[in-house]
Symmetry: C2
Subunit: 576 residues, 2 copies
């Protein structure tokens, strides 16, 4: 089985390079690992995936979501606040002999099979010593394990004090600009702020092709909501259930995901809040458009040691692909108020939101009161200081001080008579509530989806190899052929081709080689429809329209080609 | 006049921030100059401009152009080869007292009014000394002028030897991957390779808002063609003429652009080659879609000292905007074979292309011949070495050596009889030709176009301020309003809104405030169409459709709203 799968991967990689989906970047200089170019077909496939994502996450949610764009180069303070400077690290170890650097955890896992995720550098160093693990290249002695930060570092402007980093996620742009967007959007919650943009992660030695890149395009949404009144997500917009493998299942070795509706998942406490569950539902629907059926994907809850530093619950949406097995196509993190709280602290700005109650409420509140006259009499010139001390006490502190029944309260060196300080209940009108919104985040890597879409659509059917790419994401929608390379057919075929281009339908024209070979060439890159101009066309203005997946052919009017193709693309649905 | 213009800019900036087009990034941390966020409206405006660019430069040119995507992080060797490490610099000078750094040329120009573009650091230092220019902030003494490289530097992976830079243009990705794309595209020329992607330039102290950013999105095409047989561009696809201000005109102080057809411009030697002229034509048409009429833009030829190091002719397309005056919206550089030649040299890879002749040609070629027997007899054990020396000589070298009439040729210490070496003409069949393609490059900055489109569309019309954005690029196409905030009207209006969202038409819904105020809010952000649900709607299923620019209203069927809006968007043309 394994050989067959690797074989498919090799064939796909060959196709990707030969026909122009993707290839390693900087090839003429020997390449740099972790960087891939998207070629003519790959870039259009990605463009279509990108537009579909915008449609699902923003346009279809225009009542609650918007997109923004923020820079990739980011000043240091942002990643101090976000915790990335401290926590976005991998453990590395260097060989004392050849100087090569390795991921310490991967080295240990491949040498011993031990899972070491979450261990400290000290613990990893001890394991390397105990197990006698040596440099896998030269056999040299390995040094101490240390943490390597995966942020690409640079300087902004001409001063060395102005350190900047390339962002490893788009999210921080949404957090630092949250208040501005919230204001622009007339201060209503829930509010999703989405972004499609470039990110970079300085991986030590990426070796998984398009699956693990040092630079890629993230498609990410930070969805802000009121944790006390999250509201009911519009589940009805997207049908279906979620397949979830919980952390608890994983711990006891259960590998079979359960199937629940998003609403049930929340009610049963499997997913910590309704919006996390809702965006998982949307993600499942979105990925279906890329050719991944519902039963081919599930959500795996991460264990605490597998989660990023900002998350209190995380699910990875997994899809099985050739060579790499189950890979994450989207991540769903419950970030709570972590990021906004941190940015409040580091910027000193108020990032809370204020929610006006529908009706004014009367709230009973405890306040600390004191006998000003008595204190003045007792403490004279120091009475102002004593009052200052008293006003800083909370009602609870006062009650605690008095609870012992003492006659005198000892506070910061002053002995205050118990009768001079007391707690009183006051009634207050409250018009609203200030709070830090909570956040759930669905996040996708676009290039990985390009690979997944190709892998899922790769079909070997006897002599024929083709990509059954969903028409909506297929880079080229129509191939136009003259049946034979004759001037009268070529001229008519070029007319059809130009009509398609004017209609804005990405198309290709091909007149070289046998018609069978041209069909095969079109099938190989997933062009869903082929239009052939033959001698009958010259008589009755009809052409053959051929379907990639079934090889079926029908005759249609030349004039209706663009409209018919558009209809077919719109009508297409994944068979399950 | 000047006051009014600045006023417009301030108003536009206020609108941009208040309604969510753009604002300075990282505001909560005090901002970092040269970085802007695109807000909910700005990011969609940019998305539409981006799609339109792809349509004009790639989809409408599917017979000769493709798009690719390459990384922003780039290994050092690429910019060594491209010349950016050496030449992508600005002259800077530091104050010895306060330590601040300034652009030396800008400092001199603002202190003395002298134009100093193209001068060396030594010359700039001398002017600073001669003119007694001091630090404009603290009055301190300025140091020596030196060159500051504008590439953001970083390291790729864990080794400090692996220097990388953020690309300042997308172009190098097209050059380093040219051979791969050329192969994928079945080796045909001309071939345009386009890319939309992020670039970064570490400007010293950017102060021109959205006009000069440290990070932005470039939309760029490298168009490769055979310089000996460039072919005829399809001028007919885009009508009209070009307005050009030549370098020669500029030198003699003429400020009035000439108007020529692209073909004439080439024939008259104003534009150095037909493809440069053709893409200028396409650019003019593209910019028209953003609301810039033909008579509001022209192409200014750059003077030699204004050109980038790789260009032999450059035109900037200029548009006049508030505050900043004439700004460049696109650059058109004739890069010749500079980049491919440099990458051939630095990579050692053959980046030439081979063009098979339609018919085999017979070419007469000179070759160096020698008398092997004679040389063997004369030089014995050294004869192999002598032959090696002879075969390295070019026919011209041999002719020169023999032209003096000497009996003996002195070459590398050997005395060879003249009769032993001669030049002969041979006839050869040649099937094709190897050459390095030439390149023309049209290049746009997307964020700058966002600003230009807003500036061009900003209208103050009595009490009303609105954006007459072309409907195709307007971020939101339709606003839906219930006439009054009554349940039955709200419910119907929400139905219309949902139908628009399902049709994928970006729309907004608003029920708060008077209908007049809601129209004003929609006009202010350039929503071209507004649909209002009133009591008549409940009776006859019609709504009012209001046009932003004319305030005209018509009644249409509820059911035809999405179709009608689509038709209006498609049919819209810029009035000139």
């Amino acid at each position: 089985m394994k050989v067959v799968r690797e074989d498919k991967y090799e064939k796909l990689m060959d196709l990707a390079k030969r026909r122009g989906f993707f290839w390693p970047s900087f090839e003429i200089y020997g390449g740099v690992s972790g960087f891939y170019d998207l070629g003519p077909l790959g870039s259009m496939l990605k463009e279509n995936i990108r537009r579909l994502w915008l449609e699902y996450f923003v346009v279809k949610h225009s009542d609650m979501a918007v997109a923004i764009e923020t820079p990739m180069v980011t000043p240091e303070v942002v990643f101090k606040a976000s915790g990335h400077l401290e926590s976005f690290t991998d453990p590395i170890v260097q060989c004392g002999k050849c100087g090569r650097v390795f991921r310490a955890d991967q080295l240990i896992e491949s040498a011993t099979g031990r899972k070491v995720e979450g261990l400290t550098p000290e613990e990893l160093t001890r394991i390397i010593k105990e197990e006698g693990i040596k440099c896998p290249v030269c056999g040299g002695e390995l040094g101490e394990v240390r943490l390597f930060n995966l942020l690409f570092q640079t300087y902004i402007g001409p001063y060395k004090r102005d350190v900047g980093y390339l962002r490893p996620e788009a999210a921080q742009g949404m957090f630092t600009s949250f208040k501005r967007v919230f204001t622009v959007m007339r201060q209503s919650l829930p509010l999703g702020i989405a972004q499609i943009g470039r990110v970079a992660r300085n991986e030590i030695s990426p070796r998984q092709g398009m699956i693990r890149l040092r630079e890629f395009t993230i498609m990410e949404m930070e969805f802000f909501y009121d944790p006390e009144e999250p509201g009911e997500p519009p589940y009805r917009r997207f049908g279906g259930k979620l397949r979830i493998l919980t952390a608890e299942q994983r711990v006891r070795g259960d590998e079979k995901p359960i199937t629940v509706s998003p609403k049930e998942a929340v009610e049963e406490g499997i997913v910590k809040n309704p919006w996390l569950a809702y965006w998982m539902l949307v993600s499942k629907e979105f990925v279906k458009e890329l050719g991944v059926a519902e039963n081919e994907t599930f959500f795996e809850e991460k264990l605490p040691e597998e989660r990023a530093h900002y998350a209190t619950q995380t699910f990875d949406q997994l899809v099985k692909v050739s060579r790499w097995g189950w890979v994450e196509v989207s991540g769903h993190a419950y970030r709570g108020d972590y990021d906004l709280s941190r940015h409040m602290k580091f910027s000193g700005k108020d990032l809370t939101v204020y929610k006006r109650f529908d009706e004014e409420k009367v709230e009973v509140r405890e306040v600390v009161k004191y006998d000003k006259a008595l204190i003045g009499k007792l403490f004279k010139s120091e009475s102002r200081k004593v009052i200052e001390i008293i006003t800083k006490l909370s009602p609870d502190q006062v009650k605690k001080l008095k609870s012992s029944g003492k006659e005198v309260l000892e506070v910061e060196g002053f002995s205050i008579p118990s009768s001079a300080v007391w707690v009183e209940e006051v009634k207050e009108k409250v018009t609203g509530r200030k709070f830090i919104p909570h956040v759930v985040e669905p996040s996708f890597g676009a290039e990985r989806l390009v690979f997944v879409a190709l892998d899922k659509s790769f079909v070997e059917d006897g002599e024929r190899t083709y990509l059954k790419l969903p028409p909506r994401i297929a880079p080229i929608k129509v191939a136009v052929f003259p049946l034979l390379s004759k001037p009268e057919l070529i001229s008519k075929a070029r007319e059809v081709f130009n009509a398609l281009l004017s209609s804005g339908i990405p198309s290709t024209y091909d007149e070289s080689g046998s018609i069978g070979r041209r069909y095969a060439r079109a099938d190989e890159v997933g062009i869903p429809y082929a239009v052939t101009v033959d001698y009958q066309t010259l008589q009755d203005s009809t052409v053959t329209l051929r379907f990639r997946d079934t090889k079926e052919q029908v005759r249609i009017e030349v004039s209706e080609v663009p409209t018919k193709v558009r209809e077919l693309i719109e009508a297409w649905r994944l068979e399950e």
